[in-house]
């Protein structure tokens, strides 16, 4: 049992925290959001330079050969800064899937480009009727010559508006809901029959609706085994959830600090509002909620690449439940304690709140994960 950070982790934390402190002030972030694509390609290049895009990638492919816990350290810092670049879609989901399932050729083709900041990826999995259910894939991949033809609709694909390469889940057999018969395909953004409708999400990040109408890919586009992709999908979404847990802890910590500072400096009735016992107790509960979430985010990160899939999913569902509850409580209470200023666009509290809300709605909400946790045996 050891909670201490490795040297690499300590270095990653320092790097990411400094970056956020120096390059991700509230005004700077506003400029980034208002710019083209709503994120900073310049910062993305900096992430590449600092090695942050290749944490899990093997050293021979340009990465640093780290693990998910190393990644989680960076995500927590990014949470503090409300970083908007498509890190989770590209690095956690996209590169993660290629790392887990790619052939040597696929890895050699894709991973160095991700590590170098030259390629953006997105995981096009959810569908208009799938909600959070993993196997509810209706998109079809039918054999077509020596390749496949893909038809279907993908919903709220995170980072989809900027992705150069999509990893698309589609059905080579079976019907929506079956865990068998799922396959993954690499589909470039300019593939014929693929249409991307990009848009901002409520927290300022980006996503897209992706439509496939007979999009043709070669057999070499298959990522992992044909018909056997469900375990890969499950792991990818677990990793996504674990990543958001780490990020959410960063957001909550920053929001709690902000709120605590507000309680100490804002006066009403001639005294700091932090002298009111009711607000003191709420703040104490917010601190507890933050620390409970932190504990579970640590657990989620440590289990994200566990060989035991059921144990992994159970731990990550537990974490997502705790993080979702803590995020909601802290977000709502912080806004309440700030009063009107808490819901204005010009003040950062509301942006933390929106990011926490978004995280709670992504890769399964509290109800979804609570049920999944309950049905997976201990």
């Amino acid at each position: 049992m050891d909670f201490s950070l490795s040297d690499t982790q300590q270095m990653l934390r320092d790097t990411a925290e400094r970056l956020v402190r120096e390059r991700y002030g509230f005004e700077e972030r506003k400029r980034i959001l208002a710019g083209p694509g709503g994120f900073s390609r310049e910062l993305w290049a900096t992430y590449a330079e600092l090695g942050l895009l290749g944490i899990e990638v093997a050293e021979d492919q340009g990465g640093i050969g780290g693990n998910f816990q190393d990644l989680a350290i960076v995500l927590e810092a990014f949470g503090r800064g409300l970083v908007v670049e498509p890190y989770v879609p590209t690095v956690v989901l996209g590169a993660g899937l290629v790392n887990a399932a790619g052939s040597d050729a696929q890895k050699a083709d894709i991973l160095p480009r991700v590590v170098g900041g030259e390629a953006y990826l997105a995981f096009a999995h959810g569908e208009p009727k799938s909600r959070y259910t993993l196997a509810h894939v209706a998109t079809s991949a039918t054999a077509d010559g020596d390749g496949f033809s893909l038809t279907g609709d993908k919903a709220v694909v995170l980072g989809g508006d900027v992705a150069d390469l999509f990893i698309v889940s589609a059905r080579t057999a079976g019907k929506a809901g079956d865990t068998d018969g799922l396959s993954l395909f690499l589909v470039p953004k300019d593939a014929a029959g693929l249409t991307v409708r990009g848009y901002p999400t409520v927290d300022g990040t980006r996503a897209a609706e992706v439509s496939l109408r007979g999009a043709k890919v070669g057999r070499d586009a298959l990522l992992g085994p044909e018909g056997g992709a469900f375990p890969l999908i499950a792991q990818a979404l677990d990793r996504g959830a674990a990543a958001l847990c780490a990020e959410a802890v960063g957001v909550m910590t920053a929001l709690n600090e902000l709120t605590l500072d507000y309680l100490k400096t804002r006066t009403q009735f001639g005294v700091p509002i932090g002298s009111f016992q009711v607000l003191q107790h709420h703040m104490a509960d917010m601190f507890i909620a933050q620390e409970q979430a932190r504990s579970m985010a640590i657990l989620a990160a440590s289990r994200a690449d566990s060989a035991d899939a059921a144990a992994r999913s159970r731990a990550i569902s537990a974490a997502k439940v705790q993080v979702g509850k803590s995020a909601r409580f802290i977000g709502q209470q912080s806004v309440q304690m700030h009063g009107g200023i808490g819901i204005t666009e010009e003040y950062v509290a509301g942006h933390y709140f929106k990011r926490l809300t978004t995280i709670d709605r992504t890769f399964g909400d509290v109800d979804f994960h609570l049920t999944r946790f309950a049905t997976l045996a201990a």
């Binding site: 959070y132 919903a155 819901i343 204005t344 942006h351 809300t357």
Partner: protein, 398 residues
């Protein structure tokens, strides 16, 4: 004791419903039902229609143009209008400054302003909150100095709802700098077209422009634009706020939104099963519905007591607390209901007449923004913390 509406009350409900169905413009109804942005002229048009029919001010005394309804009739009226997706009445004239002018305004003010409130000829807004004084109104810093026949007003107000549509504002400003904080405040009625009045939008986290800052730089108003006595503004403000709470529970609107929630949850599916039939969500909706049933009955009990001459006391605080919590839970469950489709941010979709392709289901676009926006309802009109303070102190004697 009889919890059913009497035959007369049922007839009244039917009459209101028939009239609203005949007179509420279809476009306005559609916009309210689907959480679209209402245009200023739609508010005004609807208020004029009500006023022309004699229903412009349900809670006003008949001498000023009220319909002379019982409390239960007022409740039915609110309920039916909400069910029929009529615009929520704007409180600033009708329920805030109107009653103050009736109680404390001069005859000239009454004659001039009250009819214009009824017909929405004036669009009023409220100049109470300041950047430094939210719940603690007594600490306000705006000031008004008498200079010959004119008051000269300087200061800054904030959270001024829909000031961008308003032509007139009621303002609290300090006129006596020696007196105790509460004693030196006066209330003024200020034409917003006057030089020195500036309105600056505040954009809220849902991306909407609903509130504003209002700046006063040497704004000169005639001496008779003060309400009642100088230095009595605090008293008038408390009177006003106690009136504002009436109806603040928004029970009729919450009932309409609950129906909308059930409709959405019946349309959304989980593995092919309607969300409303999955036990977790179903029970959350049921729990909320029960709270709302209880609050409606509590409100009716309060109205009945009012009819017997008992003034609303703790009940008003209670209605504000529970009513606002229910409104927030409704927005939260609606957002939950659409799953990942809560995330796309599509402000265009809230424009009336927009006929683009929606992202996800056509009801999804306003749901997360509404959730963010509705955090306000436990903050404004005296935050729920203030409401609990008052309940504990004034009613429970703590």
């Amino acid at each position: 004791m009889d919890l059913n509406y009497t035959a007369e009350e049922q007839a009244f409900a039917a009459e209101v419903r028939a009239w609203v169905r005949a007179n509420l413009p279809a476009e306005t109804r559609h916009a309210v039902e689907h959480h679209k942005r209402l245009r200023k002229e739609q508010y005004v048009d609807w208020q004029r229609r009500l006023a022309d029919h004699g229903w412009g001010a349900p809670s006003w005394p008949t001498q000023f143009g009220g319909p002379g309804w019982t409390p239960v009739q007022k409740h039915i009226f609110d309920e039916v209008l909400s069910e029929e997706h009529a615009p929520q009445p704007l409180p600033f004239g009708l329920n805030m400054i109107g009653p103050v002018i009736m109680a404390f305004g001069s005859k000239a003010q009454q004659d001039h302003y009250l009819p214009r409130i009824l017909t929405q000829e004036d669009w009023w807004c409220q100049g109470f909150s300041e950047p430094g004084s939210g719940s603690d109104l007594a600490s306000l810093r705006s000031k008004a100095v008498l200079d010959g026949d004119q008051w000269v007003i300087n200061g800054q107000k904030t959270w001024t709802t829909l000031a961008q549509h308003a032509n007139i504002i009621f303002v609290l400003a300090r006129t006596d700098f020696q007196a105790k904080p509460q004693k030196g405040i006066s209330m003024f009625l200020v034409d917003m077209a006057l030089p020195g009045v500036t309105v600056r939008p505040i954009i809220t986290v849902d991306g909407e422009h609903e509130v504003n800052e209002v700046f006063f730089d040497d704004v000169r108003i005639p001496k008779d634009c003060i309400v009642g006595e100088p230095g009595q503004g605090w008293t008038y403000a408390k009177f006003l706020l106690s009136h504002e709470r009436t109806g603040i529970a928004r029970i009729g609107r919450s009932k309409a939104e609950l129906r909308r929630l059930k409709h959405i949850a019946a349309t959304e599916t989980v593995d092919g099963v309607p969300l409303i039939d999955t036990s977790g969500f179903r029970e959350k909706v049921a729990g909320l519905e029960i709270e709302l049933m209880a609050l409606e009955l509590t409100n009716l009990r309060m109205l009945a007591a009012e009819k017997h001459g008992q003034a609303p006391g703790a009940e008003a605080n209670m209605l504000k607390i529970k009513g606002s919590e229910i409104q927030q839970t409704l927005t939260e469950l609606m957002m939950e209901a659409v799953g990942p489709y809560a995330l796309p941010f599509d402000p265009q979709a809230r424009e009336q007449g927009w006929n683009g392709e929606p992202i996800g289901p056509d009801y999804a676009a306003p749901l997360a923004p509404d959730y963010f926006n509705y955090r306000k309802v436990t903050i404004y009109g005296g935050s729920n913390e203030i409401q609990r303070n008052i309940l504990a102190k004034a009613h429970l004697g703590l």
